[in-house]
């Protein structure tokens, strides 16, 4: 459904993406994971046929994104990073306009409008000005805009950015519901989000694909260990040795009064660690599991996978 081959884009002399290749079958959901400035938006804009690539090719359902933009645009629903909303319009007025420029027949438009309002749970705010909607509702209007012409392909650029946790869960659920018949690409810089909604994850950093895998294999590769952070009030010089003596502890790193304890995968040692701290009267202040950050992911991928698919 989507084929991207050796895509490169330069902004002036600055390389935004270099030699990006991946492909997607019909019905697949792919997450594009990368930190700020990685090139996610650039890749997505090329796929929407609104930004020409410097070299390489991108094809959507066999249509070339550069040579056949009109066909490509008909097949795609795109939610940009900042939802493109005319805030002085009501939800209905806005979606009607979008429906018209997406080429929906006038007879079909009311039906399409009702369907998308229903699907995005926007029916009760349909007459409200977009300017007065909450951030979460605005994001839904943005999604509705991408969906109104019922496109087989959805491209969503950081669809949950700036939302509160409840809204994030709702939007993720909406995206999962939309999968199935549709082919979806979404971008994010949050690892759990990528694994929560997508079966496949492409990790991109500094314009290059660092890793591409299914969600299960990626998490397996990444989660060889878990980390616990332990903050103590009175750290004695023997803390390190005593922690390392615990079964299941792989390494201990000290940063001031905080100890980062790396443990074997699947063993939650928080209870043991807490007990040791209390028994020794170290003055336990904090004890928590540390989630793997995107930096950890990149470090890990580039350190352990050298020579596999890390370097181009």
């Amino acid at each position: 459904m989507i084929q991207v081959e050796h895509l490169t884009k330069l902004y002036g002399s600055k390389t935004a993406i270099a030699d990006v290749s991946f492909s997607l079958e019909k019905g697949e959901v792919l997450a594009f994971l990368g930190p700020n400035g990685a090139g996610k938006t650039t890749t997505m804009r090329i796929l929407t046929a609104s930004l020409p690539a410097t070299s390489g090719s991108a094809k959507i359902a066999g249509y070339d994104c550069f040579d056949q933009p009109k066909e490509v645009k008909r097949l795609i629903g795109y939610l940009p990073e900042i939802p493109p909303l005319y805030t002085e319009m009501t939800v209905t007025e806005y979606l009607t306009f979008v429906g018209r420029i997406k080429g929906i027949e006038p007879e079909r438009l009311p039906v399409a409008l009702d369907q998308v309002l229903e699907r995005m749970s926007l029916s009760e705010v349909r007459g409200r000005l977009i300017a007065n909607l909450s951030r979460g509702f605005k994001q839904r209007v943005g999604l509705a805009q991408a969906l109104i012409h019922d496109p087989p392909i959805l491209i969503l650029d950081e669809p949950t950015v700036g939302l509160d946790p409840k809204q994030i869960i709702e939007i993720r659920q909406l995206i999962r519901d939309l999968a199935g018949a549709r082919t979806i690409i979404l971008s994010t810089h949050i690892l759990p989000e990528a694994t929560a909604v997508a079966k496949r994850v492409v990790i991109i950093n500094d314009g290059r694909i660092v890793a591409e895998d299914t969600q299960e294999q990626l998490s397996a590769r990444l989660r060889r260990s878990e980390k616990v952070s332990l903050t103590l009030k009175r750290s004695t010089p023997d803390v390190r040795e005593r922690l390392l003596a615990l079964p299941g502890v792989l390494s201990v790193r000290q940063e001031g009064h905080t100890f980062l304890v790396e443990t074997e995968l699947g063993r939650d040692l928080r209870e043991d660690l807490g007990r040791v701290a209390v028994q020794n009267d170290w003055g336990l202040l904090e004890l928590k599991l540390v989630a793997m950050t995107l930096e950890d992911v990149f470090l890990r991928l580039t350190q352990h996978e050298e020579g596999m698919e890390t370097q181009p």
């Binding site: 902004y11 929407t48 046929a49 609104s50 930004l51 020409p52 009109k70 645009k73 008909r74 795609i76 795109y78 940009p80 900042i82 493109p84 909303l85 005319y86 805030t87 002085e88 319009m89 007025e93 306009f97 979008v98 018209r100 420029i101 997406k102 080429g103 006038p106 805009q145």
Partner: protein, 256 residues
Amino acid sequence: MSPVGAIVRKELRSYFVSPVAYVVASVFLLLTGLLSFLAIATASNRSMQLLRVQGSLPELNLNEFVFRPVFYNMAVILLLVVPILTMRLFAEEKKLKTMELLVTSPVTITDIVVGKFVAALTVFAGMLALSAVAPVALAPFAEFRWPPILTAYLGILLMGGLFLSAGLLGSSLTENQIIAVILSFGALLLFWLFGWAGQVFAGTALGKVLSYLSPLDHFDQLVKGLVATKDLVYFVAGIVFTLFLTHRVIESQRWR
């Protein structure tokens, strides 16, 4: 609905929702109204003087002494208000990132440019139609010839169209509406002054070119009631060329 139609409707809607169009139209109508009044007052003063000197009431040529100055002054007002009518058209779409919606939809940049131009021209034509109240109201009480008034209105419409296309170009160059106004106003004033410069260099090739480029002479012909193909071609070609430039600007911004 055609893509152009959809864009025209959307733009017309925003004109009627925002206060800008109403303020511009009110100022334009107020000033043209005042101008018409002043022109009539001046003309009647003059005929009073003639009455005193000659002892008989002369036939006053309304076309020449009332309408023509009004049209010239109207043109000056347009120079000032048209860029305000167009400043929003692209600048705001870029600022709010809604341009992204348009360029990822199956509409062409030509559709977008033409749609926005047609909408602005429609609002402008509406404004002109309202200003036509003056001659219509005068008609039962005074004698004047309609044809030069109609050709003058054609001239105002064409020149307004040219100004609107320049305003659209200014708006396409920036996402700041104030800068859009300044750019458009500067460009219009420059072409306006070409007319003057043309007189300074009269007789030379440069003078001819400058006078040709300025809309003033072409407009003048139409106000005098003379409809010549070359003047119509000037305006239509000018509008098409400026819209083409706007298209190129928007197209080139896609690459960055």
